[in-house]
Amino acid sequence: MAFEPTLLARTSKPNSGKLDGYRADGGYAVFEKTLKDKQPLDVTTQVKDSGLRGRGGAGFPTGLKWTFLPKDHPGPIYLCINADESEPCTYNNRILMEKDPHQVLEGIMLSSYAIRSQCAYYYIRYEYGDAYRSTQAAIDECYAAGLLGKNILGSGFNLDIYMHRGAGAYICGEETGLIESLEGKRAWPRIKPPFPAIEGAFRKPTIVNNVETMACVTQILRRGNDWFKSLGVPPDPKNPRDAGSYGPKLYTIAGHVNDPKCVELPMGVTIRELVEKHGGGVWKGRKAKSVNPGGLSMGFADCNLPLKGEDGKTEYDIPLDFNGPGKIGCLGLGTAAITVIDDQTSMVDVLHNVCQFFSHESCGQCTPCREGTGWMLKITDRLRRGQGRREDLDVLVDVADRIGIMPGTTICGLADGAGWPVKTAIRKFRREFEDAIQSGSKSTYAKSLQLAGAH
């Protein structure tokens, strides 16, 4: 049976962003029904039982996060929507916001009702101008229709949604960095605990959720948990800590494919299927050398590296659920955004690009990250200029190993995400890096090092 998209079901319709079209497709019916028939706790319980895990990158169970809020808090409680989507090569939230903003807004309304929030801040990256305008227009329509504001549909429930635009800083996607930025300060992530659910925006209990997560909440309330759990991958019985990978997921395909695009599929599709079937195959008749499986922070898969104990399969065949990428040494599923690198491309150039990004986007608060990302950029720049030294690869891995939450040297995970692609690239493509050092060959892109800023 062919899979029918739900999150993207409306995106190709004309005027898909308009309220009347959304309503004609059954939109806001479940919100109205929920206000009438359900208690906030019922919604939280349903979302918790659905197995929904956050779509922003970490995969934390959404309903469980909501239950961390203090009980019987007098308020205010805030909901922050993380629409900072700055993980390189990721664009699924942009498609939702541009093409079906009401689906996201309905999820925000349902979630706000569940957590008893009367105010949601929709933090969107500056670069998403069209998404900002389509979402703001949708919010305006909702106010005019009485779906937002005071005493919504006579239920006594009040809700305001305010858009808040960022200013081009990746760190604002870290949830406490987002909160600091929202508060008008430099977006330096906070030391946790306290977690935002206890003390978040404006020192009040706060839930930060991703855009696609909100769209999933809408569909879960509309279609039910049986539907949601009929898709994806159940928990691994051998792993008691696995919460499963249920539901549909938006995968984005970028890089060296014939047809880069965003597709919705049940969780657990393999990289190979995404590239060959949905992305139109690798471009120019070439072969895939490496794939970044979920945003740069997740590291690299080697498409030619055989999987142990699985005859004929390689890292190209891993499933993209919450557990798959971890099995080949990647950090996780991340944003489920895959980037394909063909066999004509130098991994030295790719890794330099990655290091350039993280060095530029390190917020500068923690010394190991600020300095470490800079060192990794300088070393990879040396490599691509044909001036690499024999010890450079070990130094790179050493730096990558020492920066981040996991080694315990930084406040947030940016540094873990900066180190992971370095470690995985050098481990899996060491021969290529060694050859580059030995031959002293110079990258076609090699120029003098551009000075990186500190945000």
């Binding site: 390189p88 670069e127 081009g168």
Partner: protein, 161 residues
């Protein structure tokens, strides 16, 4: 003389009821001022701080963190044109496109053409990877930008009123 017009001040103040603290209006205020005046001058910082009951250094601290706003003595051109250098764009010609635009306009990234028309910037991944290589025209995505398409677009921007 005031750096900000009454109208601009009122538009900043209109944001105040949205937040429990005035400081939260720093980013919206900076965007309003930057969009209209193409820079945030030191005088503008002082006036934003007055409205938000902050010390000017607090506004300055937040503003400079983002490296997004042009500061005193520097000014955005009429259009800000960003070329994405993220991995997805790099793999499909983003670096070549950036270099092409620098040559075409005779400026380096971060600089403005002498006629004040275009400020060229590099951007970290702008989330337009399905149309790589991609650019941002102010805050609007332009997808699948070939060098020919870039030339036509830049020419069009130079003729804008």
């Amino acid at each position: 003389m005031s750096a900000l017009t009454e109208d601009l001040k009122n538009r900043i103040k209109a944001y105040l009821p949205r937040y429990p603290r005035k400081q939260a209006v720093v980013l919206p205020a900076l965007h309003l001022v930057h969009d209209e005046m193409r820079t945030v001058s030191n005088e503008a910082i002082v006036e934003i701080a007055e409205i938000l009951e902050l010390h000017p250094s607090e506004v300055h601290d937040t503003m400079t963190f983002y490296e997004f706003f042009k500061t005193d003595g520097d000014k955005l051109g009429q259009t800000r044109f960003w070329v994405c250098r993220g991995l997805a764009c790099m793999l499909r010609g983003g670096y070549e496109l950036l270099e092409h635009c620098e040559h075409k306009l005779g400026v380096k990234c971060g600089e403005t053409t002498t006629d004040g028309r275009i400020t060229l910037e590099f951007a970290e991944c702008i989330g337009a990877c399905d149309g790589a290589p991609a650019c941002l025209r102010d805050d609007v995505h332009v997808m699948n930008v070939t060098t020919d398409k870039a030339d036509a677009l830049l020419q069009q921007l130079q003729l804008l009123n």
